[in-house]
Amino acid sequence: MTKPIPKEDWAFDELKEQADDLRQKINLFRTSLGRFFVQKQELIDLMCVAAIAQEPLLLVGPPGTAKSDLVLKFRDAIDIPEEDYFEYMLTRFTEPSEIIGPIDINQLRDGRYIRREKGKLPTARLAFLDEIFKSNSAILNILLTIINEKKFYQDGQPQPVSLRVLFAATNEIPEQAELGALKDRFVLKAVSGSVQDEHFSDLIDAGMRSEVYRTLNQKPWKEGHCTLDDFLKAGRYMTYLFSQQTADGETSRDRATFFPEDVFREFERLIKTLVREDRIFVSDRKLVKLYKLFRVRAWLFSGGTVSHDDLRLLMYLGETHQEMELLATKIPQLLGQ
């Protein structure tokens, strides 16, 4: 049986009252978690933004650059129950049953093709898929449906999944066209690079501390600042804000209120420049999602309107290593940062 999806039908008024409190909790969470890493604050911030916006986040980087560690500590820090978390390293031999559960033999005898999804991706609210692009086409199709439509098929019938936050990691960004669709689902793709060149001693110190914690089975980052529900509530609250219309019913009140005209124009200019000069493909879907992410970041960081600084999220639009490198320098340069 599918696990019932926890109720997330919080009312706007209820959330409005909690909004400031939620924001503070999440901010405390992200800055506290940053203490346990060297130069990964930006990635943790992104994880928080992605978690609130419920957009998948892809971490890219060579082995040993703390990609998995970031997710694992994030998971510990929000103290998510075991049954709500799913983590898997994909290979090209990974079978669908390893991700969405094996076929229930008893049910199969009765002619029903049902998967036992308990403890697998469909029942998890937070998931981490390592080496996501190594998966084969069977897994890819399942993932696409789950990420995009938040559902999977049981005996031919679509069923909603509990998944709210998805983090994925990869060592390399593939060029193959068949992986393009999955890549496109990740609006944000952030590079987790090596920090040893500039923070050698910090890295050694932090690494050794981490070793000690692991050996002694201690998790000091589990500070209870916030929970997954807090992220979901924040997300819900933002959704309510997005839905508000102005009196004429045509313009989003959210944009009129929270997205100043000059910043919006700058956003437009940036996108047009990237598309024209650097041939960076930005789909319409991504544009909309970007808007949402800017708003979430602005709310989380300042509680107010979107600023030029929030446009930094465009740095994470790159689809290839070259694009990522280019955007990492070009966006701050264009923004004058």
């Binding site: 124009r265 437009e268 200019r269 047009k272 420049t273 024209r276 340069q333």
Partner: protein, 1143 residues
Amino acid sequence: MILQFPDLQTLQLALTSGTISTETAISPAKVAWAVDGSIWVDAEMKLSAASKNQLRSWGVTGRRSAAKAGSKLQDVRCWPQMIPVTREAKIQQTGDKTPVLFELPDESQLPDVVNEILRQGNDRQSFRTVVGDGDAGSRVLLRVLGPPYYSLLRALERRDDAADGIKAFVERSARVWIQVGYCHPLAVSIKPAAGQHLLIEPSGWRTLKEEPFRDVYEVLDFQLPSETHELKNTDDELQLAVPVGLVRGGSDDVAELFVLKKNAIEQLEQFVRSSSDEVIERLSFVVSQGGGQGSEDTTVVIRIRPGRTKPPVLVFDGVAYRRYLNISNLFVPIGLRVHPPLRRDAVKHMLAADDGLIVWVEPDVPEDVPQVSTSTPFAPCFVNDSAFRPLAQWVDYIIDRDANAMTAWKAAHQFDFEGFVCRDDQARTSTSKKSKKTAEKKSTTRKLSGKKSAGEASSSKETDSDSDGEPEDDLKSFKPPRKFKKTQDPTDAQYAEMQKQLKVLESEFLAADVALDDPSREPMWTQMAEANRAVSQFVDAGICHQHEIWEQQIPNVEALRAWFETEVDAARHTKTKLLPSSEGIVADSNLAKLLKTVAPSTNQVAQLASFVAWGCQNPTAADVIRSKQVAIQNFLEKHEGFLSVRTCWLAWSALANLSGDVLTLARVRDRMLNRLYQQGLTADRDLPSFLRMSGSQSGDRFRAVRGKVTELHDHVREWCRSNLVDASPLTLDYVDLIFSYAFARLGESSLSRKTLLAAGERLKRNSDDVHEWLHDAFEYRIKQSVGGQQASGPFPDALLERLDAIPKLARYKVDRLRQHSTILEPHEQLDPYRAWRRKNLNDLQNELSELFDVFSRSELLDRLKALFKRKLDPDNKARLITTALELSTRLGEKFAIKMLGYVVSADGKLSDTLLRASLLEKGLHISAHYDQAEFAHACLERMHKLIDGQGKADVATLEALESLLSRSFSGLRKLGMREEIATLLDRMTKQVRPTKAKAIEPERMRVLLQLAGGWFYFGQDRGWKDIDAARSVLLSTKLTSEGHVGAKKQTDLAVAYIRAVGQAPLNDAVDRLFELFDKLRGIHDSATVNTHYSLKQLDIVDALVQTIVSDSFTMNKESQRWLDDEEFLIRRRIHRDVRQMMP
């Protein structure tokens, strides 16, 4: 007069078709736009009857009054103003050099916009403040060259909000600016009044007085902190003594040298017993008593010789060393490195400055302390490189038991093996001893390159035969078994196996540390030819066969037949007509048919050439050839351009031997030598693919270069554009033409064509003789390159005739570029001033320069003879001899030898260094070209004297030396004179390098750069210091601040720098070139020619392009050396054959 035009299109048609005359069109008028779309124009105009009829036919009617127009008449400055601007569907991309005018309604917006554009790396901004009519405040006009699209978008987003938004205008024609995002159909034809700019926007036209713009840097303030701390130099000379030691590091590298001290000989014996001969082939060794550190024991040093494959992994009870910092003769223990980390050149200088020594550093650690924990002192040990001997020569494999003779059960199958003679044991022993002796003898020779050059080999070959006096018959009669009989329709596995075997053969070939003409390579060529043929690589198979035969005094008939069969196979493979019939016989009729073919394919010509080479040795075929000899000769002569020099010569020499016709052979020799002189060898035709690609992936290198050139093109354009100053902007189109040539040479034919077309369109727009002729000349050279030919030789007659019709000054501008461009005139140097010098009939230089335009051999000879009859002073005599030598490749060997005879005596009478250098360089080149060793040595000796006497060389001398060097290096190395170049380099370095630390003048620097480039050729990077010094001068304003003279010096230095850097390792070279064009400033041209192009800039671009398309840039050093050796061997055989046939 009032005209009513039915619509806007008709008005536009009337203007563009000339029905409304230009005078009328540019005069003011009144216009009213009626509701029905018609346009009423009230203007003073005179219309011809034809124009009136034309207008009437288009529905234009004359009116007496505009009352019926329905709207008020408005004043316009001219007729084109009546046509409104239209919005562009897509904003056009502005180029890097396109000027854009931003109109900022508020002065306070200026810092934001300027900063934003600066942030994106564009500082080509200038501004002025203007006050418009009736405007409340002032506006700022910001002029930016090639603004970033991001900033341009600022103007576009406010397009409709004209009152307070930023507007941008782009210059569509001279001083006509149209708002970005709009276009006007007549923009190109509008000519604003002098001293005015015209701004066209949807709201109307505005004029702007022409006034200077201020550079933004004039108003930019860079604020520094108030407190400054000045650091002062102390007078004390500080000397820091830093002990150098070894620390841990670099454990991943592979060992390439082993030093054995414990039971060294026993270890070596044990090793050879258990190792494959393949591994042993890779090793050389040296045995010594007392191997460093005071030891008295026997020490054996084993070294893995460089090869194409990775070094084998060996295990010895000794210290394993790795090559350090890629210095070929310095080794440090595996797992250790030199501490403190020093620059490569410093390490080399300190430890391994002498390239003739192999140096390894032994850590000074007691034996019971194996680990080097902290910096440990070391002792450098060394041995002469020439002392190393190939280990394989010291190993004899013996079989303990007698061989049992096996008898065939049934002669069911006969293998197609060649007969061979096996040397008996006694002979083998004596040869083995002989090898040892020879190795010992050879060990005294010091080598510059890893492999022996072809010239060295021939001398060592002579030494071998001299030393033991044994006949070489044994060697000659040995024929390798022809293993690679092609299997009919091989399976994939068989095919893969054959390829694998071919690869092994190629690896063995590359690993062999003998010269290209060494007899031991002959069986290798045979095997590779068969292997290539088996895997259907017929071109390579053909080339291998030719190499197999090339050094044979008496050609091997079997090999010649195999070559012919290979060419026939190739023809079959490409479905070309076959020369032999299905029975394998070349019948008269087939041959006759081929000889009548008007446009034969390459393969058909190759079939004939190989048939002739083989057929002349075969009695039956020889009869067929004899019967058609004249036709064959005509056919070969006509189509020999399809063939490699080697193929041509094999066919022609066979023919000449058959008929005993020395004269024909001598003429062919002259043609072939001229071809080598003009074009050199082509790797594609003369080297098998594995040699072309030998070393570190030459193909990758070529692709990398090709990838970078497009990028470099943009950089160079930008550099050129920003340094034009007064020169014509069409210079950029010449840059495009030069790059089009580069693209063509690098195989990017479509890109080359595209670039050529675009540049051509712009250059021909002005109908200028100079631009048109130069464009056509470049186009001719580019098309030669695209067609795979060498871009050289005289231009077509039609083009030269057009040149004669060009007026004198324009002709000068054409000739000036021809004089400078090595693309247009790759071999001959023109004198652009000759038209002026003609007035003085006694001017010898004028007459000499005219000789280059004479293409009739007999006329040229007559004119030269007449000049020699004149009484000339020593300087002019030297000039005449130099020119005659230059032209001698056209006039043949006899003439050249005569001229060479004059060189030494003429040089003795000269005092001008420039003339001496020029004469001797030419003499050396031509004597090497015609294989005149005596003259070559005489020239070289004089050259050394010339160099030795230049201790305190002045500017003119240095320039002479530079020109001497630049022409000598490329030519001489192909003539097998590598040792001579090395000596020349060495002497020159000693003379030119200043002994005291002082500022080096640019002329000296150029010579040093030439030397640096020369050393790179030998794989030595001792020139970096000079390159860096030149770089710092080039990137500063030191020279350009000296005005025109400085700019010229800067240009020459930049050219020398590019050439030197072009010889460096690829990555370094590319980085340096990019950097140069990003940072080089201040080179511009104010000469007469700058109305058409900036010569100085084109000089630099020409040098750049010739550098990047040169073999030294696109091929790695190893492949280059193969090609140089090839050319030497080809020349040697050509001269040998002719000499042997001479009575």
